[in-house]
Symmetry: C2
Subunit: 441 residues, 2 copies
């Protein structure tokens, strides 16, 4: 049944609808939900899929790896060969361009920025010595990237993100003219939070950039490389070989990890980069530590064996994630899109769905959900300095709750969006609402 | 049999002795040894002791820890409670003053320095903005500490290290007068490389320092806290409670790890610090990562259970390490001390023995060993900027080779010290030696 567009309701219809929705919302207030949809955490069922990983290196097994060293001891600063090969297959980047690291890509990225601040990149002036350092931030984007910039005092410049990637005309013009622009944050496949994937044209535009700053780098956070939930899946062009094609191989750092493939807290991460960039990274690594946890690297190699093992494993994740994404899509469509009060992109994979409400509604939706026991990502989190000027973007992270819980949480979310929108529309028509206590009109 | 002191030999005796030792050395050159005594790596037998650790968290076990969270997922930024308790018992520091981290103390220490450079310590001026930052370095000391200073451009000031700790009069006078002095490196028990332990008086002197710089910190690298190889063992006074006693609890960071207790590459580390210092560290951690590998923390807790479990485990290490230390001591005593050509301290635990040759002999000993197939730690490594002005200190790391190999390597080492010393003494008597080819006199 086609629902009436909220924007077409007159004042009396809005009032009636408001009272109806409010009554439903109040039922939720009674129900005492306790759910967290704020972060992209895998569910226990997803973690169960990879629990066997802790069994594949037993004390009775050999700890000696291909290069003859014992993984229990210190050594192999940039990872064991077997793990490099696994990531090489996954990223389609030569083994010699890969370093395999610890359990956190965020840490890898943080360290890279920290090194650039204190030591520059490939012998450039340390960023801390520059008057100003700027990063481009396609928005909405990943709050942890922005937090790193903020921590190091790097100025963030938002750039619009479309369904095929960020606005490359703006990026090209800024990067090629402003020497202070030293980097850009990219989550190129199933982007956090909108779920879009960069088109081939966008990847070509990135790879052929001629940055004004020699130490400009693309931070390619390839977090969701194999996180496809549908038959029709997004294909991302290989940035590494495309950069090489343009003679631009030092332009990009590619980061990835198994955090959302194996165990979130106990995965392994990798960085892929040109020989020159990798040598630069290793100069830090050899001061910073004696090696990463190679026993855990060996676990991953033994558990997955090769990239086909990873693909097969991701089919199991898909079986859990696809119904959750479907649930979100179907409720958003039925309850909100038909009423003309949201827009959103339907991702084919990844961990997030980003919902655009009418301007000025996001914070209110967050608050209404919170009061009824469902925690969403803080509104504004997807924007530099937490500034969502339109107050219109909300990130949904459907992975953690069970399907039944998710359905409940999404029903509440939809009610809250309706309620916040109705409040907004009624206010615009001069109606005075008591937002502190929505029951008292 | 009392051997003749080399310094009492006349020229003809020296010549005879030289030819005798040279002949023995040449036999070693033929033998084709291939041994590494350069780093403090545990032997395979020591790693075997803790291999069972990889079995104690199996997929059929629970992954839920005390606070109700699943260790396979993200969370517990500063470690699981159980692991905090284990380190609390080990360090005798309250649980709330402990953060449990990843597999590397060097990384923890590096991060702390890096944070101080970029953000200061507890809101002090970031060190990178200061004209000069200096660290005190008791020498000989740990090369990786010095490498971190060098990497960040921190000026290193050597301070003499005695058998009961560093020269506290010099330290007090420098720290309490110079605002640029921001830290000091300490390996307070079984010091790397001399194996000495700080006396109670030294710990009191540290804990009662009144540094000119508010952001001065003692970097207390308590790497060998339970690494006692003999019945008579060194006891180190608790710096944390002693600092507290003097109202100085923000003065120290205590670092430790299980790297030389469990598996070197796959241990867990911890930092103990005052609430104020810990809050400062967590401000970085929450930007830097989502958490450390908590499954591995759980492995350690299940494997050791409590600090008694660690003590019992260290007895097994002792059974392997004591004979190695004894072998080194007995050969050094028989072959070199009796000839009056070295001095050294006999550590009761830890991983190293530091030998003082006659001035100007250390590099030559290294070279002679190297040519015969035994790698020692690079001479000078125990000094800031690799500067051993006297060229007289060599670090021995007896843990990795088997007992038989170690005996062979030490026999060679002793020969090389004798040869280098004889060359030196003969040169002083005007004798021309062809060092390129020691056979041709």
């Amino acid at each position: 049944m086609q629902k009436k567009l909220y924007t077409e309701l007159n004042r009396s219809e809005l009032e009636k609808e408001y009272n109806r929705v409010l009554a439903l919302y109040q039922e939720f207030l009674q129900a005492g939900l306790q759910l967290d949809m704020s972060r992209g955490k895998p569910s226990p069922e997803q973690l169960d899929l990879a629990s066997g990983m802790v069994d594949v290196v037993a004390s009775t097994d050999s700890f000696i790896v291909e290069n003859g060293t014992d993984v229990r001891n210190y050594g192999n600063l940039d990872g064991i060969d077997e793990a490099k090969r696994l990531f090489s297959e996954l990223l389609e980047v030569p083994e010699e361009n890969i370093a395999v690291c610890g359990n956190s890509t965020v840490n890898l990225i943080y360290d890279q920025i920290s090194q650039a601040m204190s030591h520059g990149i490939c012998n450039s002036t340390p960023w801390q010595k520059l008057e100003k350092v700027k990063f481009l931030c396609p928005v909405p984007g990943y709050d942890r990237h922005f937090a790193i910039c903020e921590y190091f005092g790097i100025e963030m410049i938002p750039v619009p993100l479309y369904d095929d990637g960020p606005d490359m005309a703006i990026i090209k013009s800024l990067v090629e003219s402003d020497e202070n622009i030293k980097g850009i944050w990219c989550v190129p496949k199933y982007s956090n939070p909108t779920g879009i994937t960069y088109s081939d044209a966008v990847v070509h535009a990135f790879a052929s950039l001629k940055p004004r700053a020699k130490d400009f780098r693309i931070f390619w956070d390839y977090a969701y490389c194999v996180h496809d939930w549908y038959d029709e899946r997004d294909e991302l062009l290989n940035i590494f070989s495309t950069c090489k094609f343009y003679g631009n191989e030092d332009l990009v750092y590619i980061f990835t990890s198994t955090s959302k493939i194996s165990l979130s807290g106990s995965g392994i991460s990798a960085v892929a980069a040109s020989s020159k960039n990798l040598a630069d990274i290793k100069q830090r690594l050899q001061v910073q530590r004696l090696g990463f946890d190679r026993v855990n690297q060996l676990r991953h190699v033994r558990f997955f064996r090769n990239v086909e093992g990873i693909y097969a494993h991701m089919q199991k994740h898909r079986a859990i994630m696809a119904p959750k994404f479907d649930t979100v899509f179907s409720l958003l469509d039925q309850e909100l899109k038909t009423r003309g009060i949201i827009s959103y992109y339907k991702p084919k994979g990844g961990y997030f769905i980003s919902v655009n409400t009418l301007d000025g509604c996001a914070k209110r939706v967050y608050q209404l959900c919170k009061e009824a026991g469902v925690t969403l990502t803080t509104p504004g989190a997807a924007f530099p300095y937490n500034r969502d000027e339109k107050d219109a973007t909300l990130r949904l992270a459907p992975s953690y709750p069970s399907l039944a819980e998710l359905k409940k949480a999404m029903e509440l979310f939809c009610l809250c969006v309706r309620l916040a929108t109705l409040e907004k529309l009624l206010e615009e028509k001069g109606y005075q609402l008591n937002q502190e206590n929505p029951g008292e009109i």
